[in-house]
């Protein structure tokens, strides 16, 4: 049973995106069609998957019991006051006379770029951790409120992709944290200017 692939070999980027589950339905179908016929590509994909195994396990290896305890502590220390203290929630809305850096808002400390920053090079957004296993949604908006870029990350820093070229002008960025225990925390909008 000899088979020859009738489609082009997928690129390294496509294979990596396939392994991470980041392909669109159509692209995934194309890659699968190729894998079904091309033993060599399939082998390279499975070898890469095997190599990644221990790294994935390490990344996912947080000790379950510890996570449960930390989640409970977080729920008590961070989320509960946010949820039940209207005064604190109101204070989380930025005002010009509040100190801007570092700026603690609803459990997340924003580090960079500082509020009102003027930027002319690579933009790297940084903030302090909101808790173990938290994921963060970073949103960049223009002056009209239109979303220019958003991404979800597990890290506490992310660079604006090189292909994202922002036109000169004012922008706002904010971070929403999804905590391990199902709670959330939100940091208000910070302004920066691209020149």
């Amino acid at each position: 049973m000899t088979e020859r692939p009738d489609t082009q070999h997928p690129s390294d980027e496509q294979v990596a995106a396939f392994l991470d589950g980041r392909l669109t339905t159509n692209e995934r179908a194309q890659v699968l069609t190729h894998f079904a016929a091309c033993a060599e590509c399939r082998r390279e994909m499975t070898v890469a998957h095997k190599v990644l195994g221990p790294w994935r396990d390490v990344r996912r290896a947080p000790i379950i019991g510890l996570v449960t305890v930390l989640a409970a502590v977080l729920a008590f220390v961070v989320v509960r006051p946010i949820a039940h203290d209207p005064a604190r929630s109101a204070a989380a809305v930025r005002s010009p006379d509040r100190p801007s850096q570092p700026d603690r808002m609803a459990g997340i400390t924003v580090v960079a770029p500082p509020d009102q920053a003027v930027i002319d090079s690579t933009i790297i957004f940084r903030w302090r951790s909101g808790g173990v296993d938290a994921t963060y949604r970073l949103t960049v908006q223009d002056r009209s409120g239109g979303v220019v870029w958003d991404t979800t990350v597990a890290d506490t820093a992310v660079a604006l992709p090189r292909q994202m070229v922002l036109a000169k002008g004012q922008y706002f960025w904010s971070v929403d944290a999804q905590l391990a225990d199902g709670g959330s925390a939100k940091a208000g909008a910070h302004q920066f200017t691209v020149r």
């Binding site: 390294d12 294979v15 991470d20 699968l32 069609t33 033993a39 390279e44 090189r162």
Partner: protein
């Protein structure tokens, strides 16, 4: 329902199209046009962070220390050439995590290095040996048989008479035709299981199925479907 049908929904595509992975800081610093000294520092940091991973990839083609180090060095040289062309390709695409991308690219470079050294495709790590093919084929026959079949009763093709060989060829051709009608995800599932001999748990993660049990259930459903199609084509037994 196919494996892919489980994953198909328009919202998923929208999310996939929007989803960009974070670029590691060292990589962002390396490619952002900083002064050479800063870029060297960023490169050193990037290599330090991912050395263990790259060594693990280099070991996929052999365990001998010198050849592993050769492959590792080769990968670093290729990543650095043409002003980090490959790394820029990652940033431009940026769908997968950097770790996943790096493993895929490094493995490709290691294979390339191996071919340059030895002039042939490396074997091992998923390349089926004769014995393994035989074992896999026997298992395939066993799985496709309607009920429990004594493995000892399976026929060794090496010792077949001429007419039996023709029957085996016809049966294999029928199987190939039936396999062609399957959804690509199902074909990959069967290939991973029977040709590449992967455990169900690993197949589940590769094909993004919820668990190994889903793999087994899908395989059972495929066996039933394949048997029905084979019977319709006049193949009623795994024996010639």
């Amino acid at each position: 329902m196919t494996v892919d049908a489980v994953l198909q929904n328009p919202a998923r595509d929208h999310r996939m199209a929007d989803r960009r992975g974070p670029v590691p800081l060292e990589l962002a610093q390396l490619l952002n046009g900083a002064p050479p000294a800063d870029r060297d520092r960023a490169w050193t940091a990037l290599v330090a962070t991912h050395s263990r991973l790259l060594m693990a990839v280099a070991r996929t083609l052999g365990a001998e220390h010198d050849s592993v180090m050769d492959a590792y060095t080769y990968v670093l040289e290729r990543l650095r050439e043409d002003d980090y062309r490959r790394l820029r390709a990652y940033v431009a695409d940026n769908r997968a995590s950097f770790t996943t991308w790096l493993v895929v690219v490094a493995r490709g470079l290691c294979v390339d290095h191996y071919r340059r050294q030895y002039g042939r495709t490396p074997r091992g790590n998923g390349t089926a040996s004769g014995t393994r093919v035989e074992r896999t084929f026997r298992r395939r026959l066993f799985e496709l048989a309607p009920t429990m079949v004594d493995l000892a009763s399976l026929v060794d093709e090496q010792g077949l008479a001429a007419d039996e060989s023709v029957q085996v060829a016809q049966r294999n051709q029928a199987l190939a035709l039936v396999l062609e009608t399957l959804d690509p995800a199902d074909r990959v599932l069967l290939k991973l299981r029977f040709e590449d001999d992967l455990p169900a748990r690993e197949i589940a993660t590769i094909l993004q199925m919820p668990s190994a049990f889903h793999v087994y259930r899908r395989l059972a459903s495929l066996y039933t479907s394949l048997r029905r199609h084979l019977v319709a084509r006049g193949v009623e037994s795994s024996a010639p």
